[in-house]
């Protein structure tokens, strides 16, 4: 079908194919490439920050540029790198793990991607149009409302657009997992990665609208003369902080939970054991998701909410350490007595356990509200969240990419290079961030442009910068590995790791309809169940027959580009009202595309039984 068309038509057709695709596997590629690119941009920004802080009173970056750099680093890494890379994994894996041929809403899946991409582009355009946002990734008012220029406006519009994409993606995965599971795939047989995707999607659904509202208020204040954060007119800047963190704390669990799921699958596969305490793991995931909504004000201990509110939020925050601890122990017990294979995926996963645990411990320290008055807004906090985000999320993404790369691209990433990338990154990570806790305790505030000589901060900052270079080296080796593997490695078969779950039951990469016949699931780790009974593959749950597939469409792309254009209109109409024309045109493109979508029936197409039989002869069905 579409793939063969692309092969015939060359580059142009391939590009068109990706612009219009609704296939979850190709959308995964798009997310991976875009997220990877933003990861490199964010990484570059981090290197510039670390060079500036390499020595006291440095003048490598001007003060204003430094503010833009830290703001864009945080915003890019969270919204434009980590989120899409997670969506890449969810898209590549979840439909396969539940035995589905695609997600519930392939069209919306594509829309979610393009919204994210255009939102991300919008944010980064600001570098070239007079300055990036500079009020920190948390964008607190009144720093943000009074920031001159258009930087913060780009933050508002960019995140609004990409946030809409994330919300759509979340709803899509919720419905996919609830409605599209193969026969026999009960909730308590779902792999942990699917479980954590389900919980994460719920968090997205209930957390992102708070950010949406916060961004609207910010937009109205900055661009349309509202007074939400204007104290002279009775406004209240704390509202932003609440809305931001009601979104922001769940967001950190949105980031980590999918990787918790990936680690669970990886530990179990490479220990050749079923996951220890499966139901406890599911319970802990759900509990973390639930508690994640109860703790946002631990970011605001120093705002002046009073001792009672502070105490409640402190205790609630510490409570999250309990389900997290359950998970840590279950991973350890999964490995205990297993036949462990130290592949690259496993290496990243094993390294994650102590790294993340350190981050959890500093988290509990921060949760002690009285002590947080000392830690808050120092490098201690920077150390904490990089331990959980890099040691958890980034390690997890590397582990998951090594694990599922063969399923996504049909080749196993080179193991030697994989390990070669790991070591500098791992060592560099601890060099960079461990020392930052102590810098913080010594009084070094976060987000300051320079530090002074003779206060004992020189050595620590130097070590931190050296570590950052090691992490950069590790990342580059990983990139080299990607290219090397694409050129040199031979094709992998469907099940290179002796896997346990459904994604390993078909060829790598899978045919675009995933399953020739929907499989019948007979237990947890369904493929393993069949293997232990000496069977080759899954028992089909249906006879061979026509398969219904969705049609490709360019409309998601046009809808998103419309909002992109409209965004510029909104930003610049504050200078010159004629820019509103751009908003009108942009919105017309978006709503016109929506109208087209509504008016034109999209019934999809069928892949006929004869085609499938051909494919089986070619060996795709395995």
């Amino acid at each position: 079908m579409s793939t063969t068309a692309a092969q015939k038509g060359g580059l142009g057709a391939a590009i068109w194919d990706y612009l219009t695709t609704v296939d979850h596997k190709k959308i995964a590629h798009l997310y991976l490439v875009a997220g990877g690119l933003f990861f490199l941009i964010g990484g570059l920004e981090a290197m510039l920050i670390r060079i500036q802080l390499m020595k006291p009173d440095n003048n490598f970056l001007a003060a204003g540029l430094y503010n833009e750099m830290i703001t864009m680093h945080g915003t890019t890494m969270i919204f434009l790198a980590a989120m899409p890379l997670i969506f890449a994994l969810m898209n590549a894996v979840v439909p396969l793990q539940i035995g589905a041929r695609d997600v519930a809403f392939p069209f919306l899946n594509s829309l979610g991607f393009w919204l994210f991409l255009f939102g991300g582009l919008m944010l980064n355009v600001s570098w070239f149009t007079g300055g990036a946002p500079d009020a920190g990734w948390t964008n607190y008012a009144p720093l943000s409302t009074t920031s001159p220029g258009h930087g913060v406006d780009y933050y508002v519009m960019g995140l609004q657009i990409s946030g809409a994409g994330t919300l759509i993606g979340g709803i899509n995965f919720l419905v996919t997992i609830v409605n599209m599971r193969a026969p026999g795939m009960t909730y308590m047989r779902m792999p942990l990665f699917t479980w954590s995707t389900l919980v994460t999607s719920t968090l997205i659904l209930f957390a992102f609208p708070a950010l949406t509202v916060g961004l609207f208020l910010m937009m109205f204040d900055r661009m349309f003369g509202a007074a939400f954060f204007d104290v002279a007119k009775g406004g209240n800047v704390i509202i932003w902080e609440h809305l931001f963190w009601i979104f922001g704390h769940p967001e950190v669990y949105i980031l980590i939970l999918p990787l918790f799921g990936a680690f669970s699958d990886i530990f179990s596969t490479f220990s050749k054991k079923r996951l220890f305490g499966y139901s406890a793991m599911v319970f802990a995931t759900v509990l973390i998701g639930f508690l994640g909504f109860m703790v946002w004000a631990h970011h605001m201990f120093t705002v002046g909410m009073g001792p009672i509110a502070n105490s409640i939020f402190a205790v609630a925050t510490m409570a999250i350490a309990v389900p997290t601890g359950i998970k840590i122990f279950n991973w350890l017990f999964t490995m205990w007595g297993g036949q462990i294979r130290m592949t690259s995926a496993m290496l990243w996963s094993v390294a994650f356990i102590p790294s993340f645990t350190i981050g959890g411990m500093t988290g509990v320290m921060l949760a002690a509200a009285a002590a947080d008055f000392q830690y808050h807004d120092t490098y201690f906090v920077v150390g904490h969240f990089h331990y959980v985000i890099v040691g958890g999320v980034v390690f997890g993404i590397f582990a998951a990419l090594h694990y599922w790369w063969p399923k996504m691209f049909g080749k196993v990433l080179n193991e030697k290079l994989g390990k070669l990338a790991f070591w500098p990154f791992f060592i560099g990570f601890h060099l960079t961030f461990f020392i930052q806790h102590f810098l913080g305790l010594m009084g070094m505030p976060r987000r300051y442009w320079v530090f002074l000589e003779g206060q004992g901060l020189e050595a620590g900052n130097m070590i931190s910068t050296i570590g950052a270079f090691l992490m950069a080296i590790g990342s580059v080796i990983f990139l080299i590995n990607v290219v090397y593997t694409a050129v040199k490695e031979k094709k992998a078969d469907g099940d290179p790791w002796d896997g346990r779950t459904l994604e390993w039951t078909m060829a790598s990469p899978p045919p675009h309809y995933n399953f020739v016949q929907t499989p019948l699931v007979r237990g947890l780790d369904p493929l393993w169940v069949e293997k232990t009974e000496g069977k080759e593959g899954m028992t089909p749950a249906e006879p061979l027959g026509d398969i219904h597939m969705p049609n490709a469409s360019i409309l998601p792309f046009t809808m998103s580009i419309g909002l992109f254009i409209a965004g510029f209109g909104f930003i610049y109409q504050t200078d010159d009202k004629t820019w509103l024309v751009a908003s009108v045109i942009g919105m017309a493109i978006t709503f016109g595309s929506m109208l087209t979508r509504s008016l034109k029936d999209d019934l999809g197409h069928h892949i006929h039984k004869e085609e499938l039989e051909e494919d089986i002869k070619k060996g795709v069905g395995k």
Binding site: P209, A210, A226, A227, K233, G234, L595
Partner: protein, 207 residues
């Protein structure tokens, strides 16, 4: 069997909106979406409650609001919810004509509501010089009520589009879920209005 046959069965099932997998998916997704919308409006209500006394020495809620018009608007929107229930009742009985009629009545009531709201806003602006940037309270008021009004407008356009699009071909298993979730959306808008009526207008007048 072709798509056409599948989507236009000889005997329409009792719940045509949930007879196909696509329909089931839409139905579930829309409930999730309304969950997100709930958080959205909850955030707006929270903001409004935090700011409704921040009038910066200008117009207060008590001073501004008149309950007569708002009561009328409430009645219109509540009735329109009822008429959309009738429409769905006829959909389940496969009576396309009657469904369209009741939807049309729903749309008319919605339009009347929207007209009143626009009048109300203009009234505040012209008679009281109560504009978007007058005070934090003004911003919060126009944002909360305006978001709701925007939802009404979107809902109306959506229902009208569906009515026109399917005018000729009648009900089938492809468009039934679309009609159904549009009516769900309409109910949601109605529920939000009940809260606005209470929190903004009643409490504004009494508190």
């Amino acid at each position: 069997m072709s798509h056409e046959d599948v989507l236009n069965p000889k005997h329409m099932p009792h719940d045509p909106e949930k007879a196909t997998l696509e329909g089931k998916n839409k139905f579930l997704a829309f409930w999730f979406f309304l969950g997100g919308e709930t958080v959205l409006f909850a955030s707006l209500f929270g903001t409004y409650i935090a700011l409704n006394s921040s009038t910066a020495g200008e117009n207060t809620p008590e001073h501004l609001f008149g309950l007569e018009l708002v009561f009328l608007m409430t009645m219109m929107l509540l009735t329109s919810s009822l008429t959309s229930v009738y429409a769905m009742y006829h959909m389940k009985n496969h009576d396309f004509r009657k469904m369209q009629t009741w939807l049309a009545i729903t749309v008319l009531l919605g339009l009347a509501f929207l007209g009143c709201e626009i009048y109300e806003f203009l009234h505040y602006i012209h008679e009281y010089e109560f504009t978007f940037g007058s005070s934090a309270f003004a911003s919060a008021f126009y944002t909360l009520v305006g978001f709701h009004g925007g939802h009404v407008l979107f809902g109306l356009s959506w229902i009208v589009t569906l009515m026109i699009r399917n005018q000729k071909r009648g009900l089938n298993l492809y468009n039934a879920p679309k009609f159904y979730i549009a009516s769900l959306y309409w109910h949601f808008i109605d529920v939000v209005w009940v809260f606005i009526f209470t929190v903004v207008y009643l409490m504004g007048k009494v508190g």
